[in-house]
Amino acid sequence: MDWPAIGLSLRLATIVSLILLVIGLPIAWWLAFSRWRWKFLVEAIVALPLVLPPTVLGFYVLMAVGERSPIGRAWVRWTGHGLAFTFEGLVLASILYSLPFAVQPIASAFAQIDRGLIDAAATLGSPPWRTFVRVVIPLSIEGIVTGGVLSFAHTIGEFGVVLMVGGNLPGITRTVSIAIYDQVQGFHYAEANTTALVLLVFSASVLALVYAIVRKPWALASLP
């Protein structure tokens, strides 16, 4: 059993889904309410990781963070080391890779909110940020939870991008999916089986718990 790999995957997925919630909320808001005529271009870019092979995305991230690119050089100046084959590089790549999984459910939840409620809040003297916190977020909580869970699960399961950007450094970039791949390559089927099972049970439990929180099966009175 490769516990360090499991721990690394959980850490990566937690950090990535939290960051995605923070940057996904404003992006989703803009996508749901902007009337800019070229908005479809932004929508297409946000959705790109859904269709792009992970290796293609990983390749471009590797190029972008390499020491020959301005981003890579700036990072080296700031931190003293490069981004490729590091945990930070993995976080960056995973954020891009899971972006549509966070943004799309949130944006569709926002789009379903009655604009009248937002106007009503304004007539009641509420500044936009307060309307967002008190009206928009509570009414789209299911979409936000779904976006968080999907980006978490998607990050846990990613393989190609990790391999391209992070490689296979134990304790640094060796995530659980890489570990399983490694074990299978070395004919350690029993070990691969346990690791895979742990991942399966964990993922299923998290999803069940989250959907339970959203649907509240114990609160029978609130069912329609």
């Binding site: 009248g116 106007d119 009503a120 809040a121 304004a122 007539t123 009641l124 003297g125 509420s126 009414l139």
Partner: protein, 365 residues
């Protein structure tokens, strides 16, 4: 307090809202068909839609002036707005809905204000319920209370009561009047129902295609409509083309011949000269129906014809009578039974001179 506005907002190449009005304290009805610009007018006053030109002022304070670049945001205009679909926050209780506009107050003051407004609008027993758990009338009361708990300087109501029965409507309006008696804020009440205008308003603005077509008391504007379109909205079901034949200046009447027939109607005297074409508006409820030829009546207009169709609509029976022109006549279900009316029957219709209103065609806008 009073509200003065002069605004122009082009919504599409075909539609421009262009209104100039001064709204006194009390209830002013804004009456118009759907698409006449009523809701847009409210949104401009509220700041939810930005007019292209003009000014809006509440008392001495200018809240919008396109020329000087003044545009106070909605949240600082100090207004109350009840939306057509109410827009109650579905995830909050009635109490939290009422609290929403009182964020700047401390909790004790907030509770005191909420309790007092809930009392005035009879929703004190509903404070812990969600909007989905109360009745339609209770939701309307909650929406009204929520918009008034902030002590607004003017109130905008977008067809707030159209979904309610008449009795509930007038009880809610009485509570609103009582609340406003001490405050005297201008209240704009948008409706497309002429019944509501008569029942609820002190003053009415008639809006058509983005312009104010007429203004005055409901009686002045809707009982004696000057324009055909107002007559239609005001519930004049029969609007007939006619030509003035003779003006009986002494008797205060004039004789008009209906278009494409030799039948004549006597109508009140207007300034229309003999030979001019006019339109005569008659409410379907103002026409009498008789199965025998009526004699010895004071009513001057008796026409005979046949029943083309009979249709029941709630408590009203609509009888279409072909007599010179086709007349729509409203009678009660009991009258229908007593007279045993049927399609094809020969009948007489009786119209008093003063039930005939001379209206002009819609003015060129």
């Amino acid at each position: 307090m009073s509200l003065a506005a002069s605004i122009r907002a082009a919504l599409s190449p075909q539609f421009t809202l262009d209104v100039r009005c001064s709204i006194a304290p009390g209830i002013t009805m804004v009456f118009g068909a759907s698409g006449s610009g009523k809701t847009t007018m409210l949104k401009c006053l509220a700041g939810l839609h930005r007019p292209d030109a003009g000014t809006i002022a509440i008392d001495e304070q200018v809240i919008f002036d396109a020329g000087r670049g003044i545009d106070i945001p909605v949240r600082r205009r100090g207004l109350g707005y009840v939306f057509q679909h109410l827009a109650l926050f579905p995830h909050m209780t009635v109490e939290r809905n009422l609290h929403f506009g009182l964020a700047s107050l401390d909790p004790a003051a907030r509770r005191a204000r909420t309790a007092s407004i809930a009392d005035s609008f009879r929703i004190a027993h509903l404070l812990s319920r969600k909007p989905s758990e109360i009745s339609g009338g209770e939701r309307q009361r909650t929406a009204l209370a929520r918009s008034l708990v902030t002590d607004p300087r003017f109130l905008l109501l977008d067809e707030p009561l159209s979904a309610l029965d008449h009795a509930t409507q007038s009880r809610i309006i009485e509570d609103l009047r009582a609340w406003n008696a001490a405050r005297g804020i201008p209240i704009l009440y948008v409706t497309h129902s002429h019944r509501e205008v008569f029942a609820l308003g002190e003053h009415v603005l008639v809006l058509e295609r983005g312009r104010i077509l007429a203004e005055g008391s409901p009686q002045e504007v809707l009982d004696a409509p000057a324009h055909e379109s107002v007559a239609r909205m005001a519930g004049f079901e029969n609007i007939l083309d006619a030509t003035v034949m003779v003006a009986n200046t002494d008797g205060g009447t004039m004789t008009c011949r209906l278009a494409e027939s030799s039948a004549e109607l006597e109508a009140p005297l207007t300034r229309a000269q003999p030979g001019t074409r006019v339109r005569i508006a008659i409410r379907a409820g103002d026409i009498l129906l008789s199965i025998g030829e009526p004699r010895g009546l004071s009513a001057r207009n008796v026409l005979d014809g046949t029943i083309a169709a009979i249709q029941r609509k709630g408590a009203t029976v609509i009888v279409m009578v072909r007599a010179a022109s086709t007349f729509e006549v409203h009678i009660t279900p009991r009258a229908l039974e007593a007279l045993r009316l049927a399609a094809g029957m020969h009948v007489w219709i009786v119209i008093k001179t003063h039930s005939c209103r001379i209206v002009s065609a819609a003015p060129e806008l």
